[in-house]
Structure formats: C-alpha cells, structure tokens
C-alpha cells in the first residue's frame, strides 16, 4: 500500500510537472507571435487616431479582436493614458482602458505618441 502510494505521488509529480513544462514551453514559443499581434493592435490604434488630440480625446478603446483583424476568442487589453507637463510636473489628463485585463502570459506592445497640442499618450496593448 505504501509503495503504491509513493508511486502514485511520484507519478502525479512527474505528470503535472511535465504538463507544466510543456505548457510553459509552448507559451514561450508563441510569445513572439503574441507580441506581433499586440504590435498590430497598437499600430492600428495609432494610425486611426494619428497625433490628433481631438481624435484621441473622443476615442474609446475596444476589446473586440475582430476590430483589429484578430481571431475571435483572442483576449485584448488596451490601456491609454494622456500626459501633460505643468510647472515641471507630469500630470495625467485622461486615462482609458478596456474593462477586463488579460490574465497570464501575454504579448505586449507599447507606443508613446506625441500629440499636436503638446500632450503625449502612452498606449499599452496586451494580447493573449
């Protein structure tokens, strides 16, 4: 009984350890593809809004992957923050994000866009 229990425990450790190793390996292999997908989303948003402060102020981030040419079921998280400088201090003008974040390892792309009124937008995109 003791031998079988020890063997079952060892088998469980090996099984779950192997599954975790395989999953992390696959995730690592797919990470550049996720980074590229996030870069596509960030570039799409940057091209749509350009450096127009008006376009950015009326922009609403969308987590719908089909809006960026990605497959349905792809998790997209967008977070944009607009900064300005007052008296040498960086202040946040506005910040917008999609409602739900992306959990786990995700591809990431960042953009820093200087707008026509002197403010700047930090755009962060996560894709999983």
């Amino acid at each position: 009984m003791l031998v079988m229990s020890a063997f079952t425990i060892a088998l469980s450790i090996v099984y779950f350890g192997g599954a975790g190793l395989y999953a992390s390996s696959i995730n690592a292999q797919l990470m550049p593809a996720s980074d590229s997908a996030a870069s596509i989303v960030a570039s799409t948003i940057a091209i749509q809004n350009g450096n127009s402060s008006q376009a950015w102020s009326s922009w609403v981030p969308s987590a719908d992957p089909s809006a960026y040419g990605l497959l349905q079921g792809t998790g997209v998280y967008i977070n944009a923050t607009c900064f300005t400088v007052n008296n040498g201090q960086v202040t946040v003008l506005w910040s917008r994000a999609t409602p739900t974040s992306v959990t786990g390892a995700a591809g990431r792309a960042d953009r820093f866009i200087v707008l026509d009124d002197g403010t700047a937008v930090r755009l962060e995109v996560l894709v999983r």
Partner: protein, 144 residues
C-alpha cells in the same frame, strides 16, 4: 498422499520487495523520460522589442520639448528622473548619460529593468543647461 504446504511468509516478502523494485524502477524511468523530454525542448526565442526603441526615443524628445529632461540630467537628480519615468515608461528603464566622447558620466537603473529584454533609444544630444554650453548624450533603455 502427503501435501507439502509452503509457508506464505517468504513468498509475500519476496512479492513486497519485488513491488518496491518495480516502483523504484518505474519512477526512474519516469524521471529519465521527463529529463529527456525537457532537454529536447527547443529554447524559447528572444522577444523582440522594436517598438520600445521608438518609444524611448519619442519619450526623450517629448521630455526635452517640455523642459523636464535637461534639469534632471545636468543636476544628476536620479530621484526626480525616476519619478517622471516611473509614470511614463512602460516597465523597467535605465538612463545612461555620456560625454560627447562617449565616456559614461552617470547612470540610473530602475529595479524592474531587465537588461536581457531591453531596447535602447537613439542617442539623444543635449547642448547645455541654463545657457551654459555643456554637451551631453542621453540614452534611454526600456525593457518589457
């Protein structure tokens, strides 16, 4: 006819020992198999960060246009620079300030900076501070 009955104890012991050997042998096979599988996995490709180079360069240009780069660089106010970059940089960062001859004058690295997954800005020149000519070159490294 006289039937000879064997004592159950030695057979039971032998069977128990045999099971221990079997279990140990099976565990060894499992661990060796797992080690072989792990060694055969291809290494993860490095994550490219071409967007961070543009990000870092745009950030330096914007900070200089807003007049918040030169004061921190020329006074070597790493705390003030960190307070700004903590808000503006996507993750970890490292600031390096060089003389025109590319001698490193000072550097500041954030705790979350990952040098193995970073991209550097274009070298950004500063001509001086408060009307005093004192050229320096600033390089900003960002990591994901």
């Amino acid at each position: 006819m006289k039937v000879r009955r064997l004592s159950p104890t030695p057979t039971k012991d032998r069977r128990g020992i045999s099971m221990v050997y079997d279990a140990v042998f099976a565990c060894i096979i499992l661990f060796v198999g797992m080690a072989l599988a792990a060694s055969s996995l291809p290494p993860a490709p490095p994550r490219s960060a071409p967007d961070l180079q543009g990000y870092a360069t745009s950030l330096l240009v914007w900070m200089d246009s807003k007049g918040i780069l030169a004061p921190y660089v020329y006074t070597q106010d790493s705390a003030g620079l960190a307070s700004v970059l903590d808000e503006l940089a996507p993750a970890g960062y490292c600031v390096k300030v060089y003389s025109p001859n590319w001698v490193l004058l000072w550097t500041y690295t954030s705790p979350s900076f990952d040098a193995g997954n970073a991209a550097a800005s274009q070298p950004y020149p500063l001509s001086g501070y408060r009307g005093v000519p004192d050229p320096k070159i600033v390089v900003l490294l960002l990591s994901k």
